[in-house]
């Protein structure tokens, strides 16, 4: 394996991490709001809060890690994506800012406010939708590079089946991933009302998940046949993903081993995510930029990798501690411990 692929692999892994933890986070925020207005049991929402409160800031760092890392490993992406994405990413920033801060205002502030709750519930679904534009434009065809100017072609973007299919998949995945996590969390907490609710959500969102994935395949075949045939070459990764998906649905339906079921959700997205990523290579931006011509100099690459290893060794025990105290501490989850 060469450094370019190693660097991209690490970044892709963190983006995957962000996708999973932020989906739980965004979905939970949405359910928090939704359950509040539909007057579902209050218990559900305190369960959500117990999970979210200690971890939300960690979620954000996954994202920061990715966008700082990509400029470090592939400085040219700053030029191409930075220029093209000014408007969409600025909108994402505003959404992220509203979500993060109103979450804190609502949770730590003096009282629960329906307006704040709405703001962070709704933005949670819009953020993934707006962030996917970065992935969409990497397929090429949506940016015009000519005499030193990089421009995003809004007309092409908004009229593209592919772009919309990715948006739909992103939103549905958020709801699916987070309900699968919350049904497990609720069951561990011994909170039956919440468990039944989230089990229903999980099963409800499973079919749309698969339909939306199918739509993305169709979209990409239309938009970028080269990438599509690359995906066909590693069809087994997507096959695996489907297999994991079926296991999730089976286990949730039979009310069995929900922890394992959530691991399967992670594997389902892991194989699809890396299948998509691997077939995308070597292109960072189709027809303009590959990981080879966009790569940082060797000295910097090695120092970034060294920093990464050192940082990782620091993070693993800390993350372990966080999970032990809040995710795997049954008394905390049940709300018996503050």
């Amino acid at each position: 394996m060469n450094l370019e692929i190693l660097g991209m692999g690490v970044l892709w892994l963190f983006l995957y991490g962000y996708m999973i933890v932020s989906s739980i986070d965004f979905g939970a925020g949405f359910f928090h709001f939704f359950n509040k207005i539909s007057r579902k049991d209050h218990q559900v929402n305190s369960l959500i809060q117990r999970y979210l409160s200690p971890v939300w800031e960690v979620t954000n760092v996954f994202f920061v890690f990715f966008f700082v890392g990509i400029v470090g490993f592939f400085p040219s992406t700053a030029y191409y994506f930075g220029t093209a994405l000014l408007v969409p990413v600025s909108i994402s920033i505003v959404l992220i800012a509203i979500r993060g801060s109103y979450y804190a205002f609502n949770t730590y502030g003096a009282k629960d406010s329906p307006v704040y709750s709405f703001l962070y519930g709704a933005t949670g679904l819009l953020i993934p939708a707006s962030l996917t534009i970065a992935l969409t434009i990497s397929e090429g065809g949506y940016v015009n590079v000519s005499n030193g100017q990089v421009r995003l072609l809004y007309g092409e973007l908004f009229s593209s089946l592919y772009a919309w299919s990715v948006v739909i998949l992103a939103i549905i995945s958020v709801l699916f991933i987070s309900s699968a996590f919350l049904q497990y969390y609720a069951q561990k907490a011994g909170d039956n009302t919440s468990y039944r609710l989230f089990r229903r959500y999980t099963l409800f969102w499973s079919l749309p998940t698969i339909l939306a994935s199918g739509l993305v395949f169709i979209g990409i075949r239309q938009h970028n046949p080269e990438h599509f045939s690359g995906m066909l070459n590693i069809w087994w990764m997507f096959g695996l993903s489907f297999l994991f998906f079926s296991l999730v649905v089976y286990l949730s339906y039979r009310r069995k081993r929900l922890g394992t079921a959530f691991v399967f959700v992670m594997l389902q997205y892991f194989s699809a995510w890396f299948g998509y990523g691997a077939s995308h290579l070597p292109w960072l931006l189709y027809d303009e930029l590959t990981i080879y011509d966009g790569f940082v100099n060797q000295t910097m690459a090695w120092s970034l990798i060294a920093a990464f290893i050192a940082g990782f060794l620091l993070l693993i025990p800390s993350l372990y501690l966080l999970m032990r105290l809040f995710l795997f501490d049954a008394a905390y989850i049940r709300g018996e411990r503050k």
Partner: protein
């Protein structure tokens, strides 16, 4: 109407975001240290007042952290969105500390989450105290790493630029450039200083309103003792920053001091007005002081602004910013010293209204000094984004709609600023310290 110029809008938007972020970021660097000091004092003296102090500060801190995190995310992305050409170059040379900064954030975020939710989990309070240490270290390291990036912009090194091609890159040399020692030290210590004053101002407000609860007195004392130490260090390190400028960026120092002709025994000019012919009127002149600031020697020569082509010199209004920063620095040192002095020689006046008012003013002034300092440092580096390597407009984006994005972000920051203030006020109004003390620890005799 002015023509649309993406570089100008990028500068305004960057300045806006950084100017907003830096308020919350500085509090984010300084307050964890104060929380740690309070919790530590509480354990050492077995005094629940200090423990509650740490607890309440931490609760308010979460709100400012949230805004710090989201505005930080904002500036982090805006660097690539607004300065793509600069970041393409910077990515090759200085991305190492930026990358390490994310690990510092990670570390801080994880332990902050744990810290906030484990107050009553451990039998020994010391164990809980241990959890705040990574938060303090993480926050200060974030400040250190990001400031090395800014140092690099002021004193780029660690690479060769031959015909537009970068060679011989050495990330560590780039990171530890001549600007790094003074800049990082000054930034970190001023974060501590401003945060101590912000917290002290809250306690002093209580005194003015006649709330003489022992809890607030202890808060005032802890913050003022710390602030005095930080203020003295700030002045010392600020002096070293001046010496750094004299050696490496003499045009910035000369512009800040309206020092046009190279001369020995140079005076320091405070305030005043500048006429077109470089004539300064109405200023206070402190003889020899500039030579001392620049070289520790009243007879030494200080390079004047006229040695530089006009296209390479910064705008001259930074003089006022420099004066404002230094003036506030002296004020903060003086007022915290007064508090300590009066406490020693005339304890009856310790909570004198005027002294308390002076301390209350120190809170916003400390933040203002940080703003002045940054704008001075950044505008003083103009026209360069990378000193003598790349001019600011060359680093900027060429995209359309930067102006609309500027308005979008103005609206965002107004919303965030207003809500954060409202939430913080409500949080502490509805649950006063005395009330919480009683709830948690019962009535105590020495409270009044």
């Amino acid at each position: 109407m002015i023509d649309y110029d993406p570089a100008t809008y990028s500068r305004i938007l960057t300045g806006l975001t950084l100017g907003f972020h830096i308020i919350f970021a500085s509090i984010g660097v300084g307050v964890p240290l104060m929380i740690a000091l309070a919790e530590w004092t509480g354990l050492r003296k077995r005094d629940p007042h200090y423990t509650l102090l740490a607890r309440r500060w931490a609760r308010g801190f979460v709100i400012t952290v949230a805004v710090g995190v989201v505005t930080g995310t904002s500036i982090g992305l805006q660097l690539s969105l607004l300065w793509p050409n600069f970041m393409e170059l910077a990515g090759q040379t200085i991305s190492l500390p930026l990358f390490m900064e994310t690990f510092a954030f990670f570390f801080e975020a994880i332990f902050l989450g744990i810290y906030l939710y484990t107050w009553d989990r451990f039998k020994s309070g010391w164990r809980h105290f241990l959890l705040v240490i990574p938060v303090v270290i993480g926050a200060s390291l974030s400040a250190f790493f990001i400031t090395t990036v800014n140092s690099f912009m002021n004193q780029p090194q660690g690479f060769e630029l031959v015909n537009g091609v970068l060679t011989d890159i050495n990330p560590l040399v780039a990171m530890f450039n001549p600007a790094t020692p003074t800049k990082t030290a000054h930034v970190i210590i001023t974060c501590y200083l401003a945060s101590a004053f912000v917290l002290g101002a809250i306690a002093a407000t209580k005194m003015i309103r006649g709330n003489r609860h022992a809890y607030h007195k202890k808060a005032l004392h802890l913050t003022m003792v710390s602030a005095f130490v930080f203020a003295a260090s700030t002045a010392a390190i600020g002096d070293l920053s001046g010496k750094y400028l004299a050696e490496y960026q003499p045009e910035k120092l000369a512009a800040a001091e309206w020092h046009f002709e190279t001369e020995e025994q140079a005076p320091l000019i405070v305030g005043g007005f500048l006429a077109d012919n470089q004539e300064v009127t109405g200023a206070l002149e402190i003889p020899y002081a500039l030579s001392i600031l620049a070289h520790s020697n009243p007879n030494e020569e200080v390079i004047g602004l006229n040695e530089f082509p006009e296209s390479d010199t910064p705008p001259l209004y930074i003089h006022y910013l420099f004066d404002g920063m230094v003036g506030i620095g002296i004020y903060l040192l003086a007022i915290s010293f007064m508090y300590l002095l009066i406490r020693r020689i005339k304890p009856a006046w310790q909570y004198n209204k005027w002294l308390m008012r002076g301390i209350v003013a120190g809170g916003p002034l400390g933040i203002l000094a940080i703003e002045f300092g940054w704008v001075f440092a950044e505008v003083g580096r103009q026209p360069w984004i990378l000193h003598q390597i790349m001019r600011t407009p060359e680093g900027a984006t060429t995209a359309e709609h930067v102006d609309i994005m500027l308005y979008l972000f103005i609206a965002l920051y107004i919303a965030l600023g207003v809500t954060a203030t409202v939430v913080l006020r409500r949080m502490f109004k509805e649950n006063p310290a005395a009330h919480e003390l009683e709830q948690r620890y019962g009535d105590r005799r020495d409270d009044k």
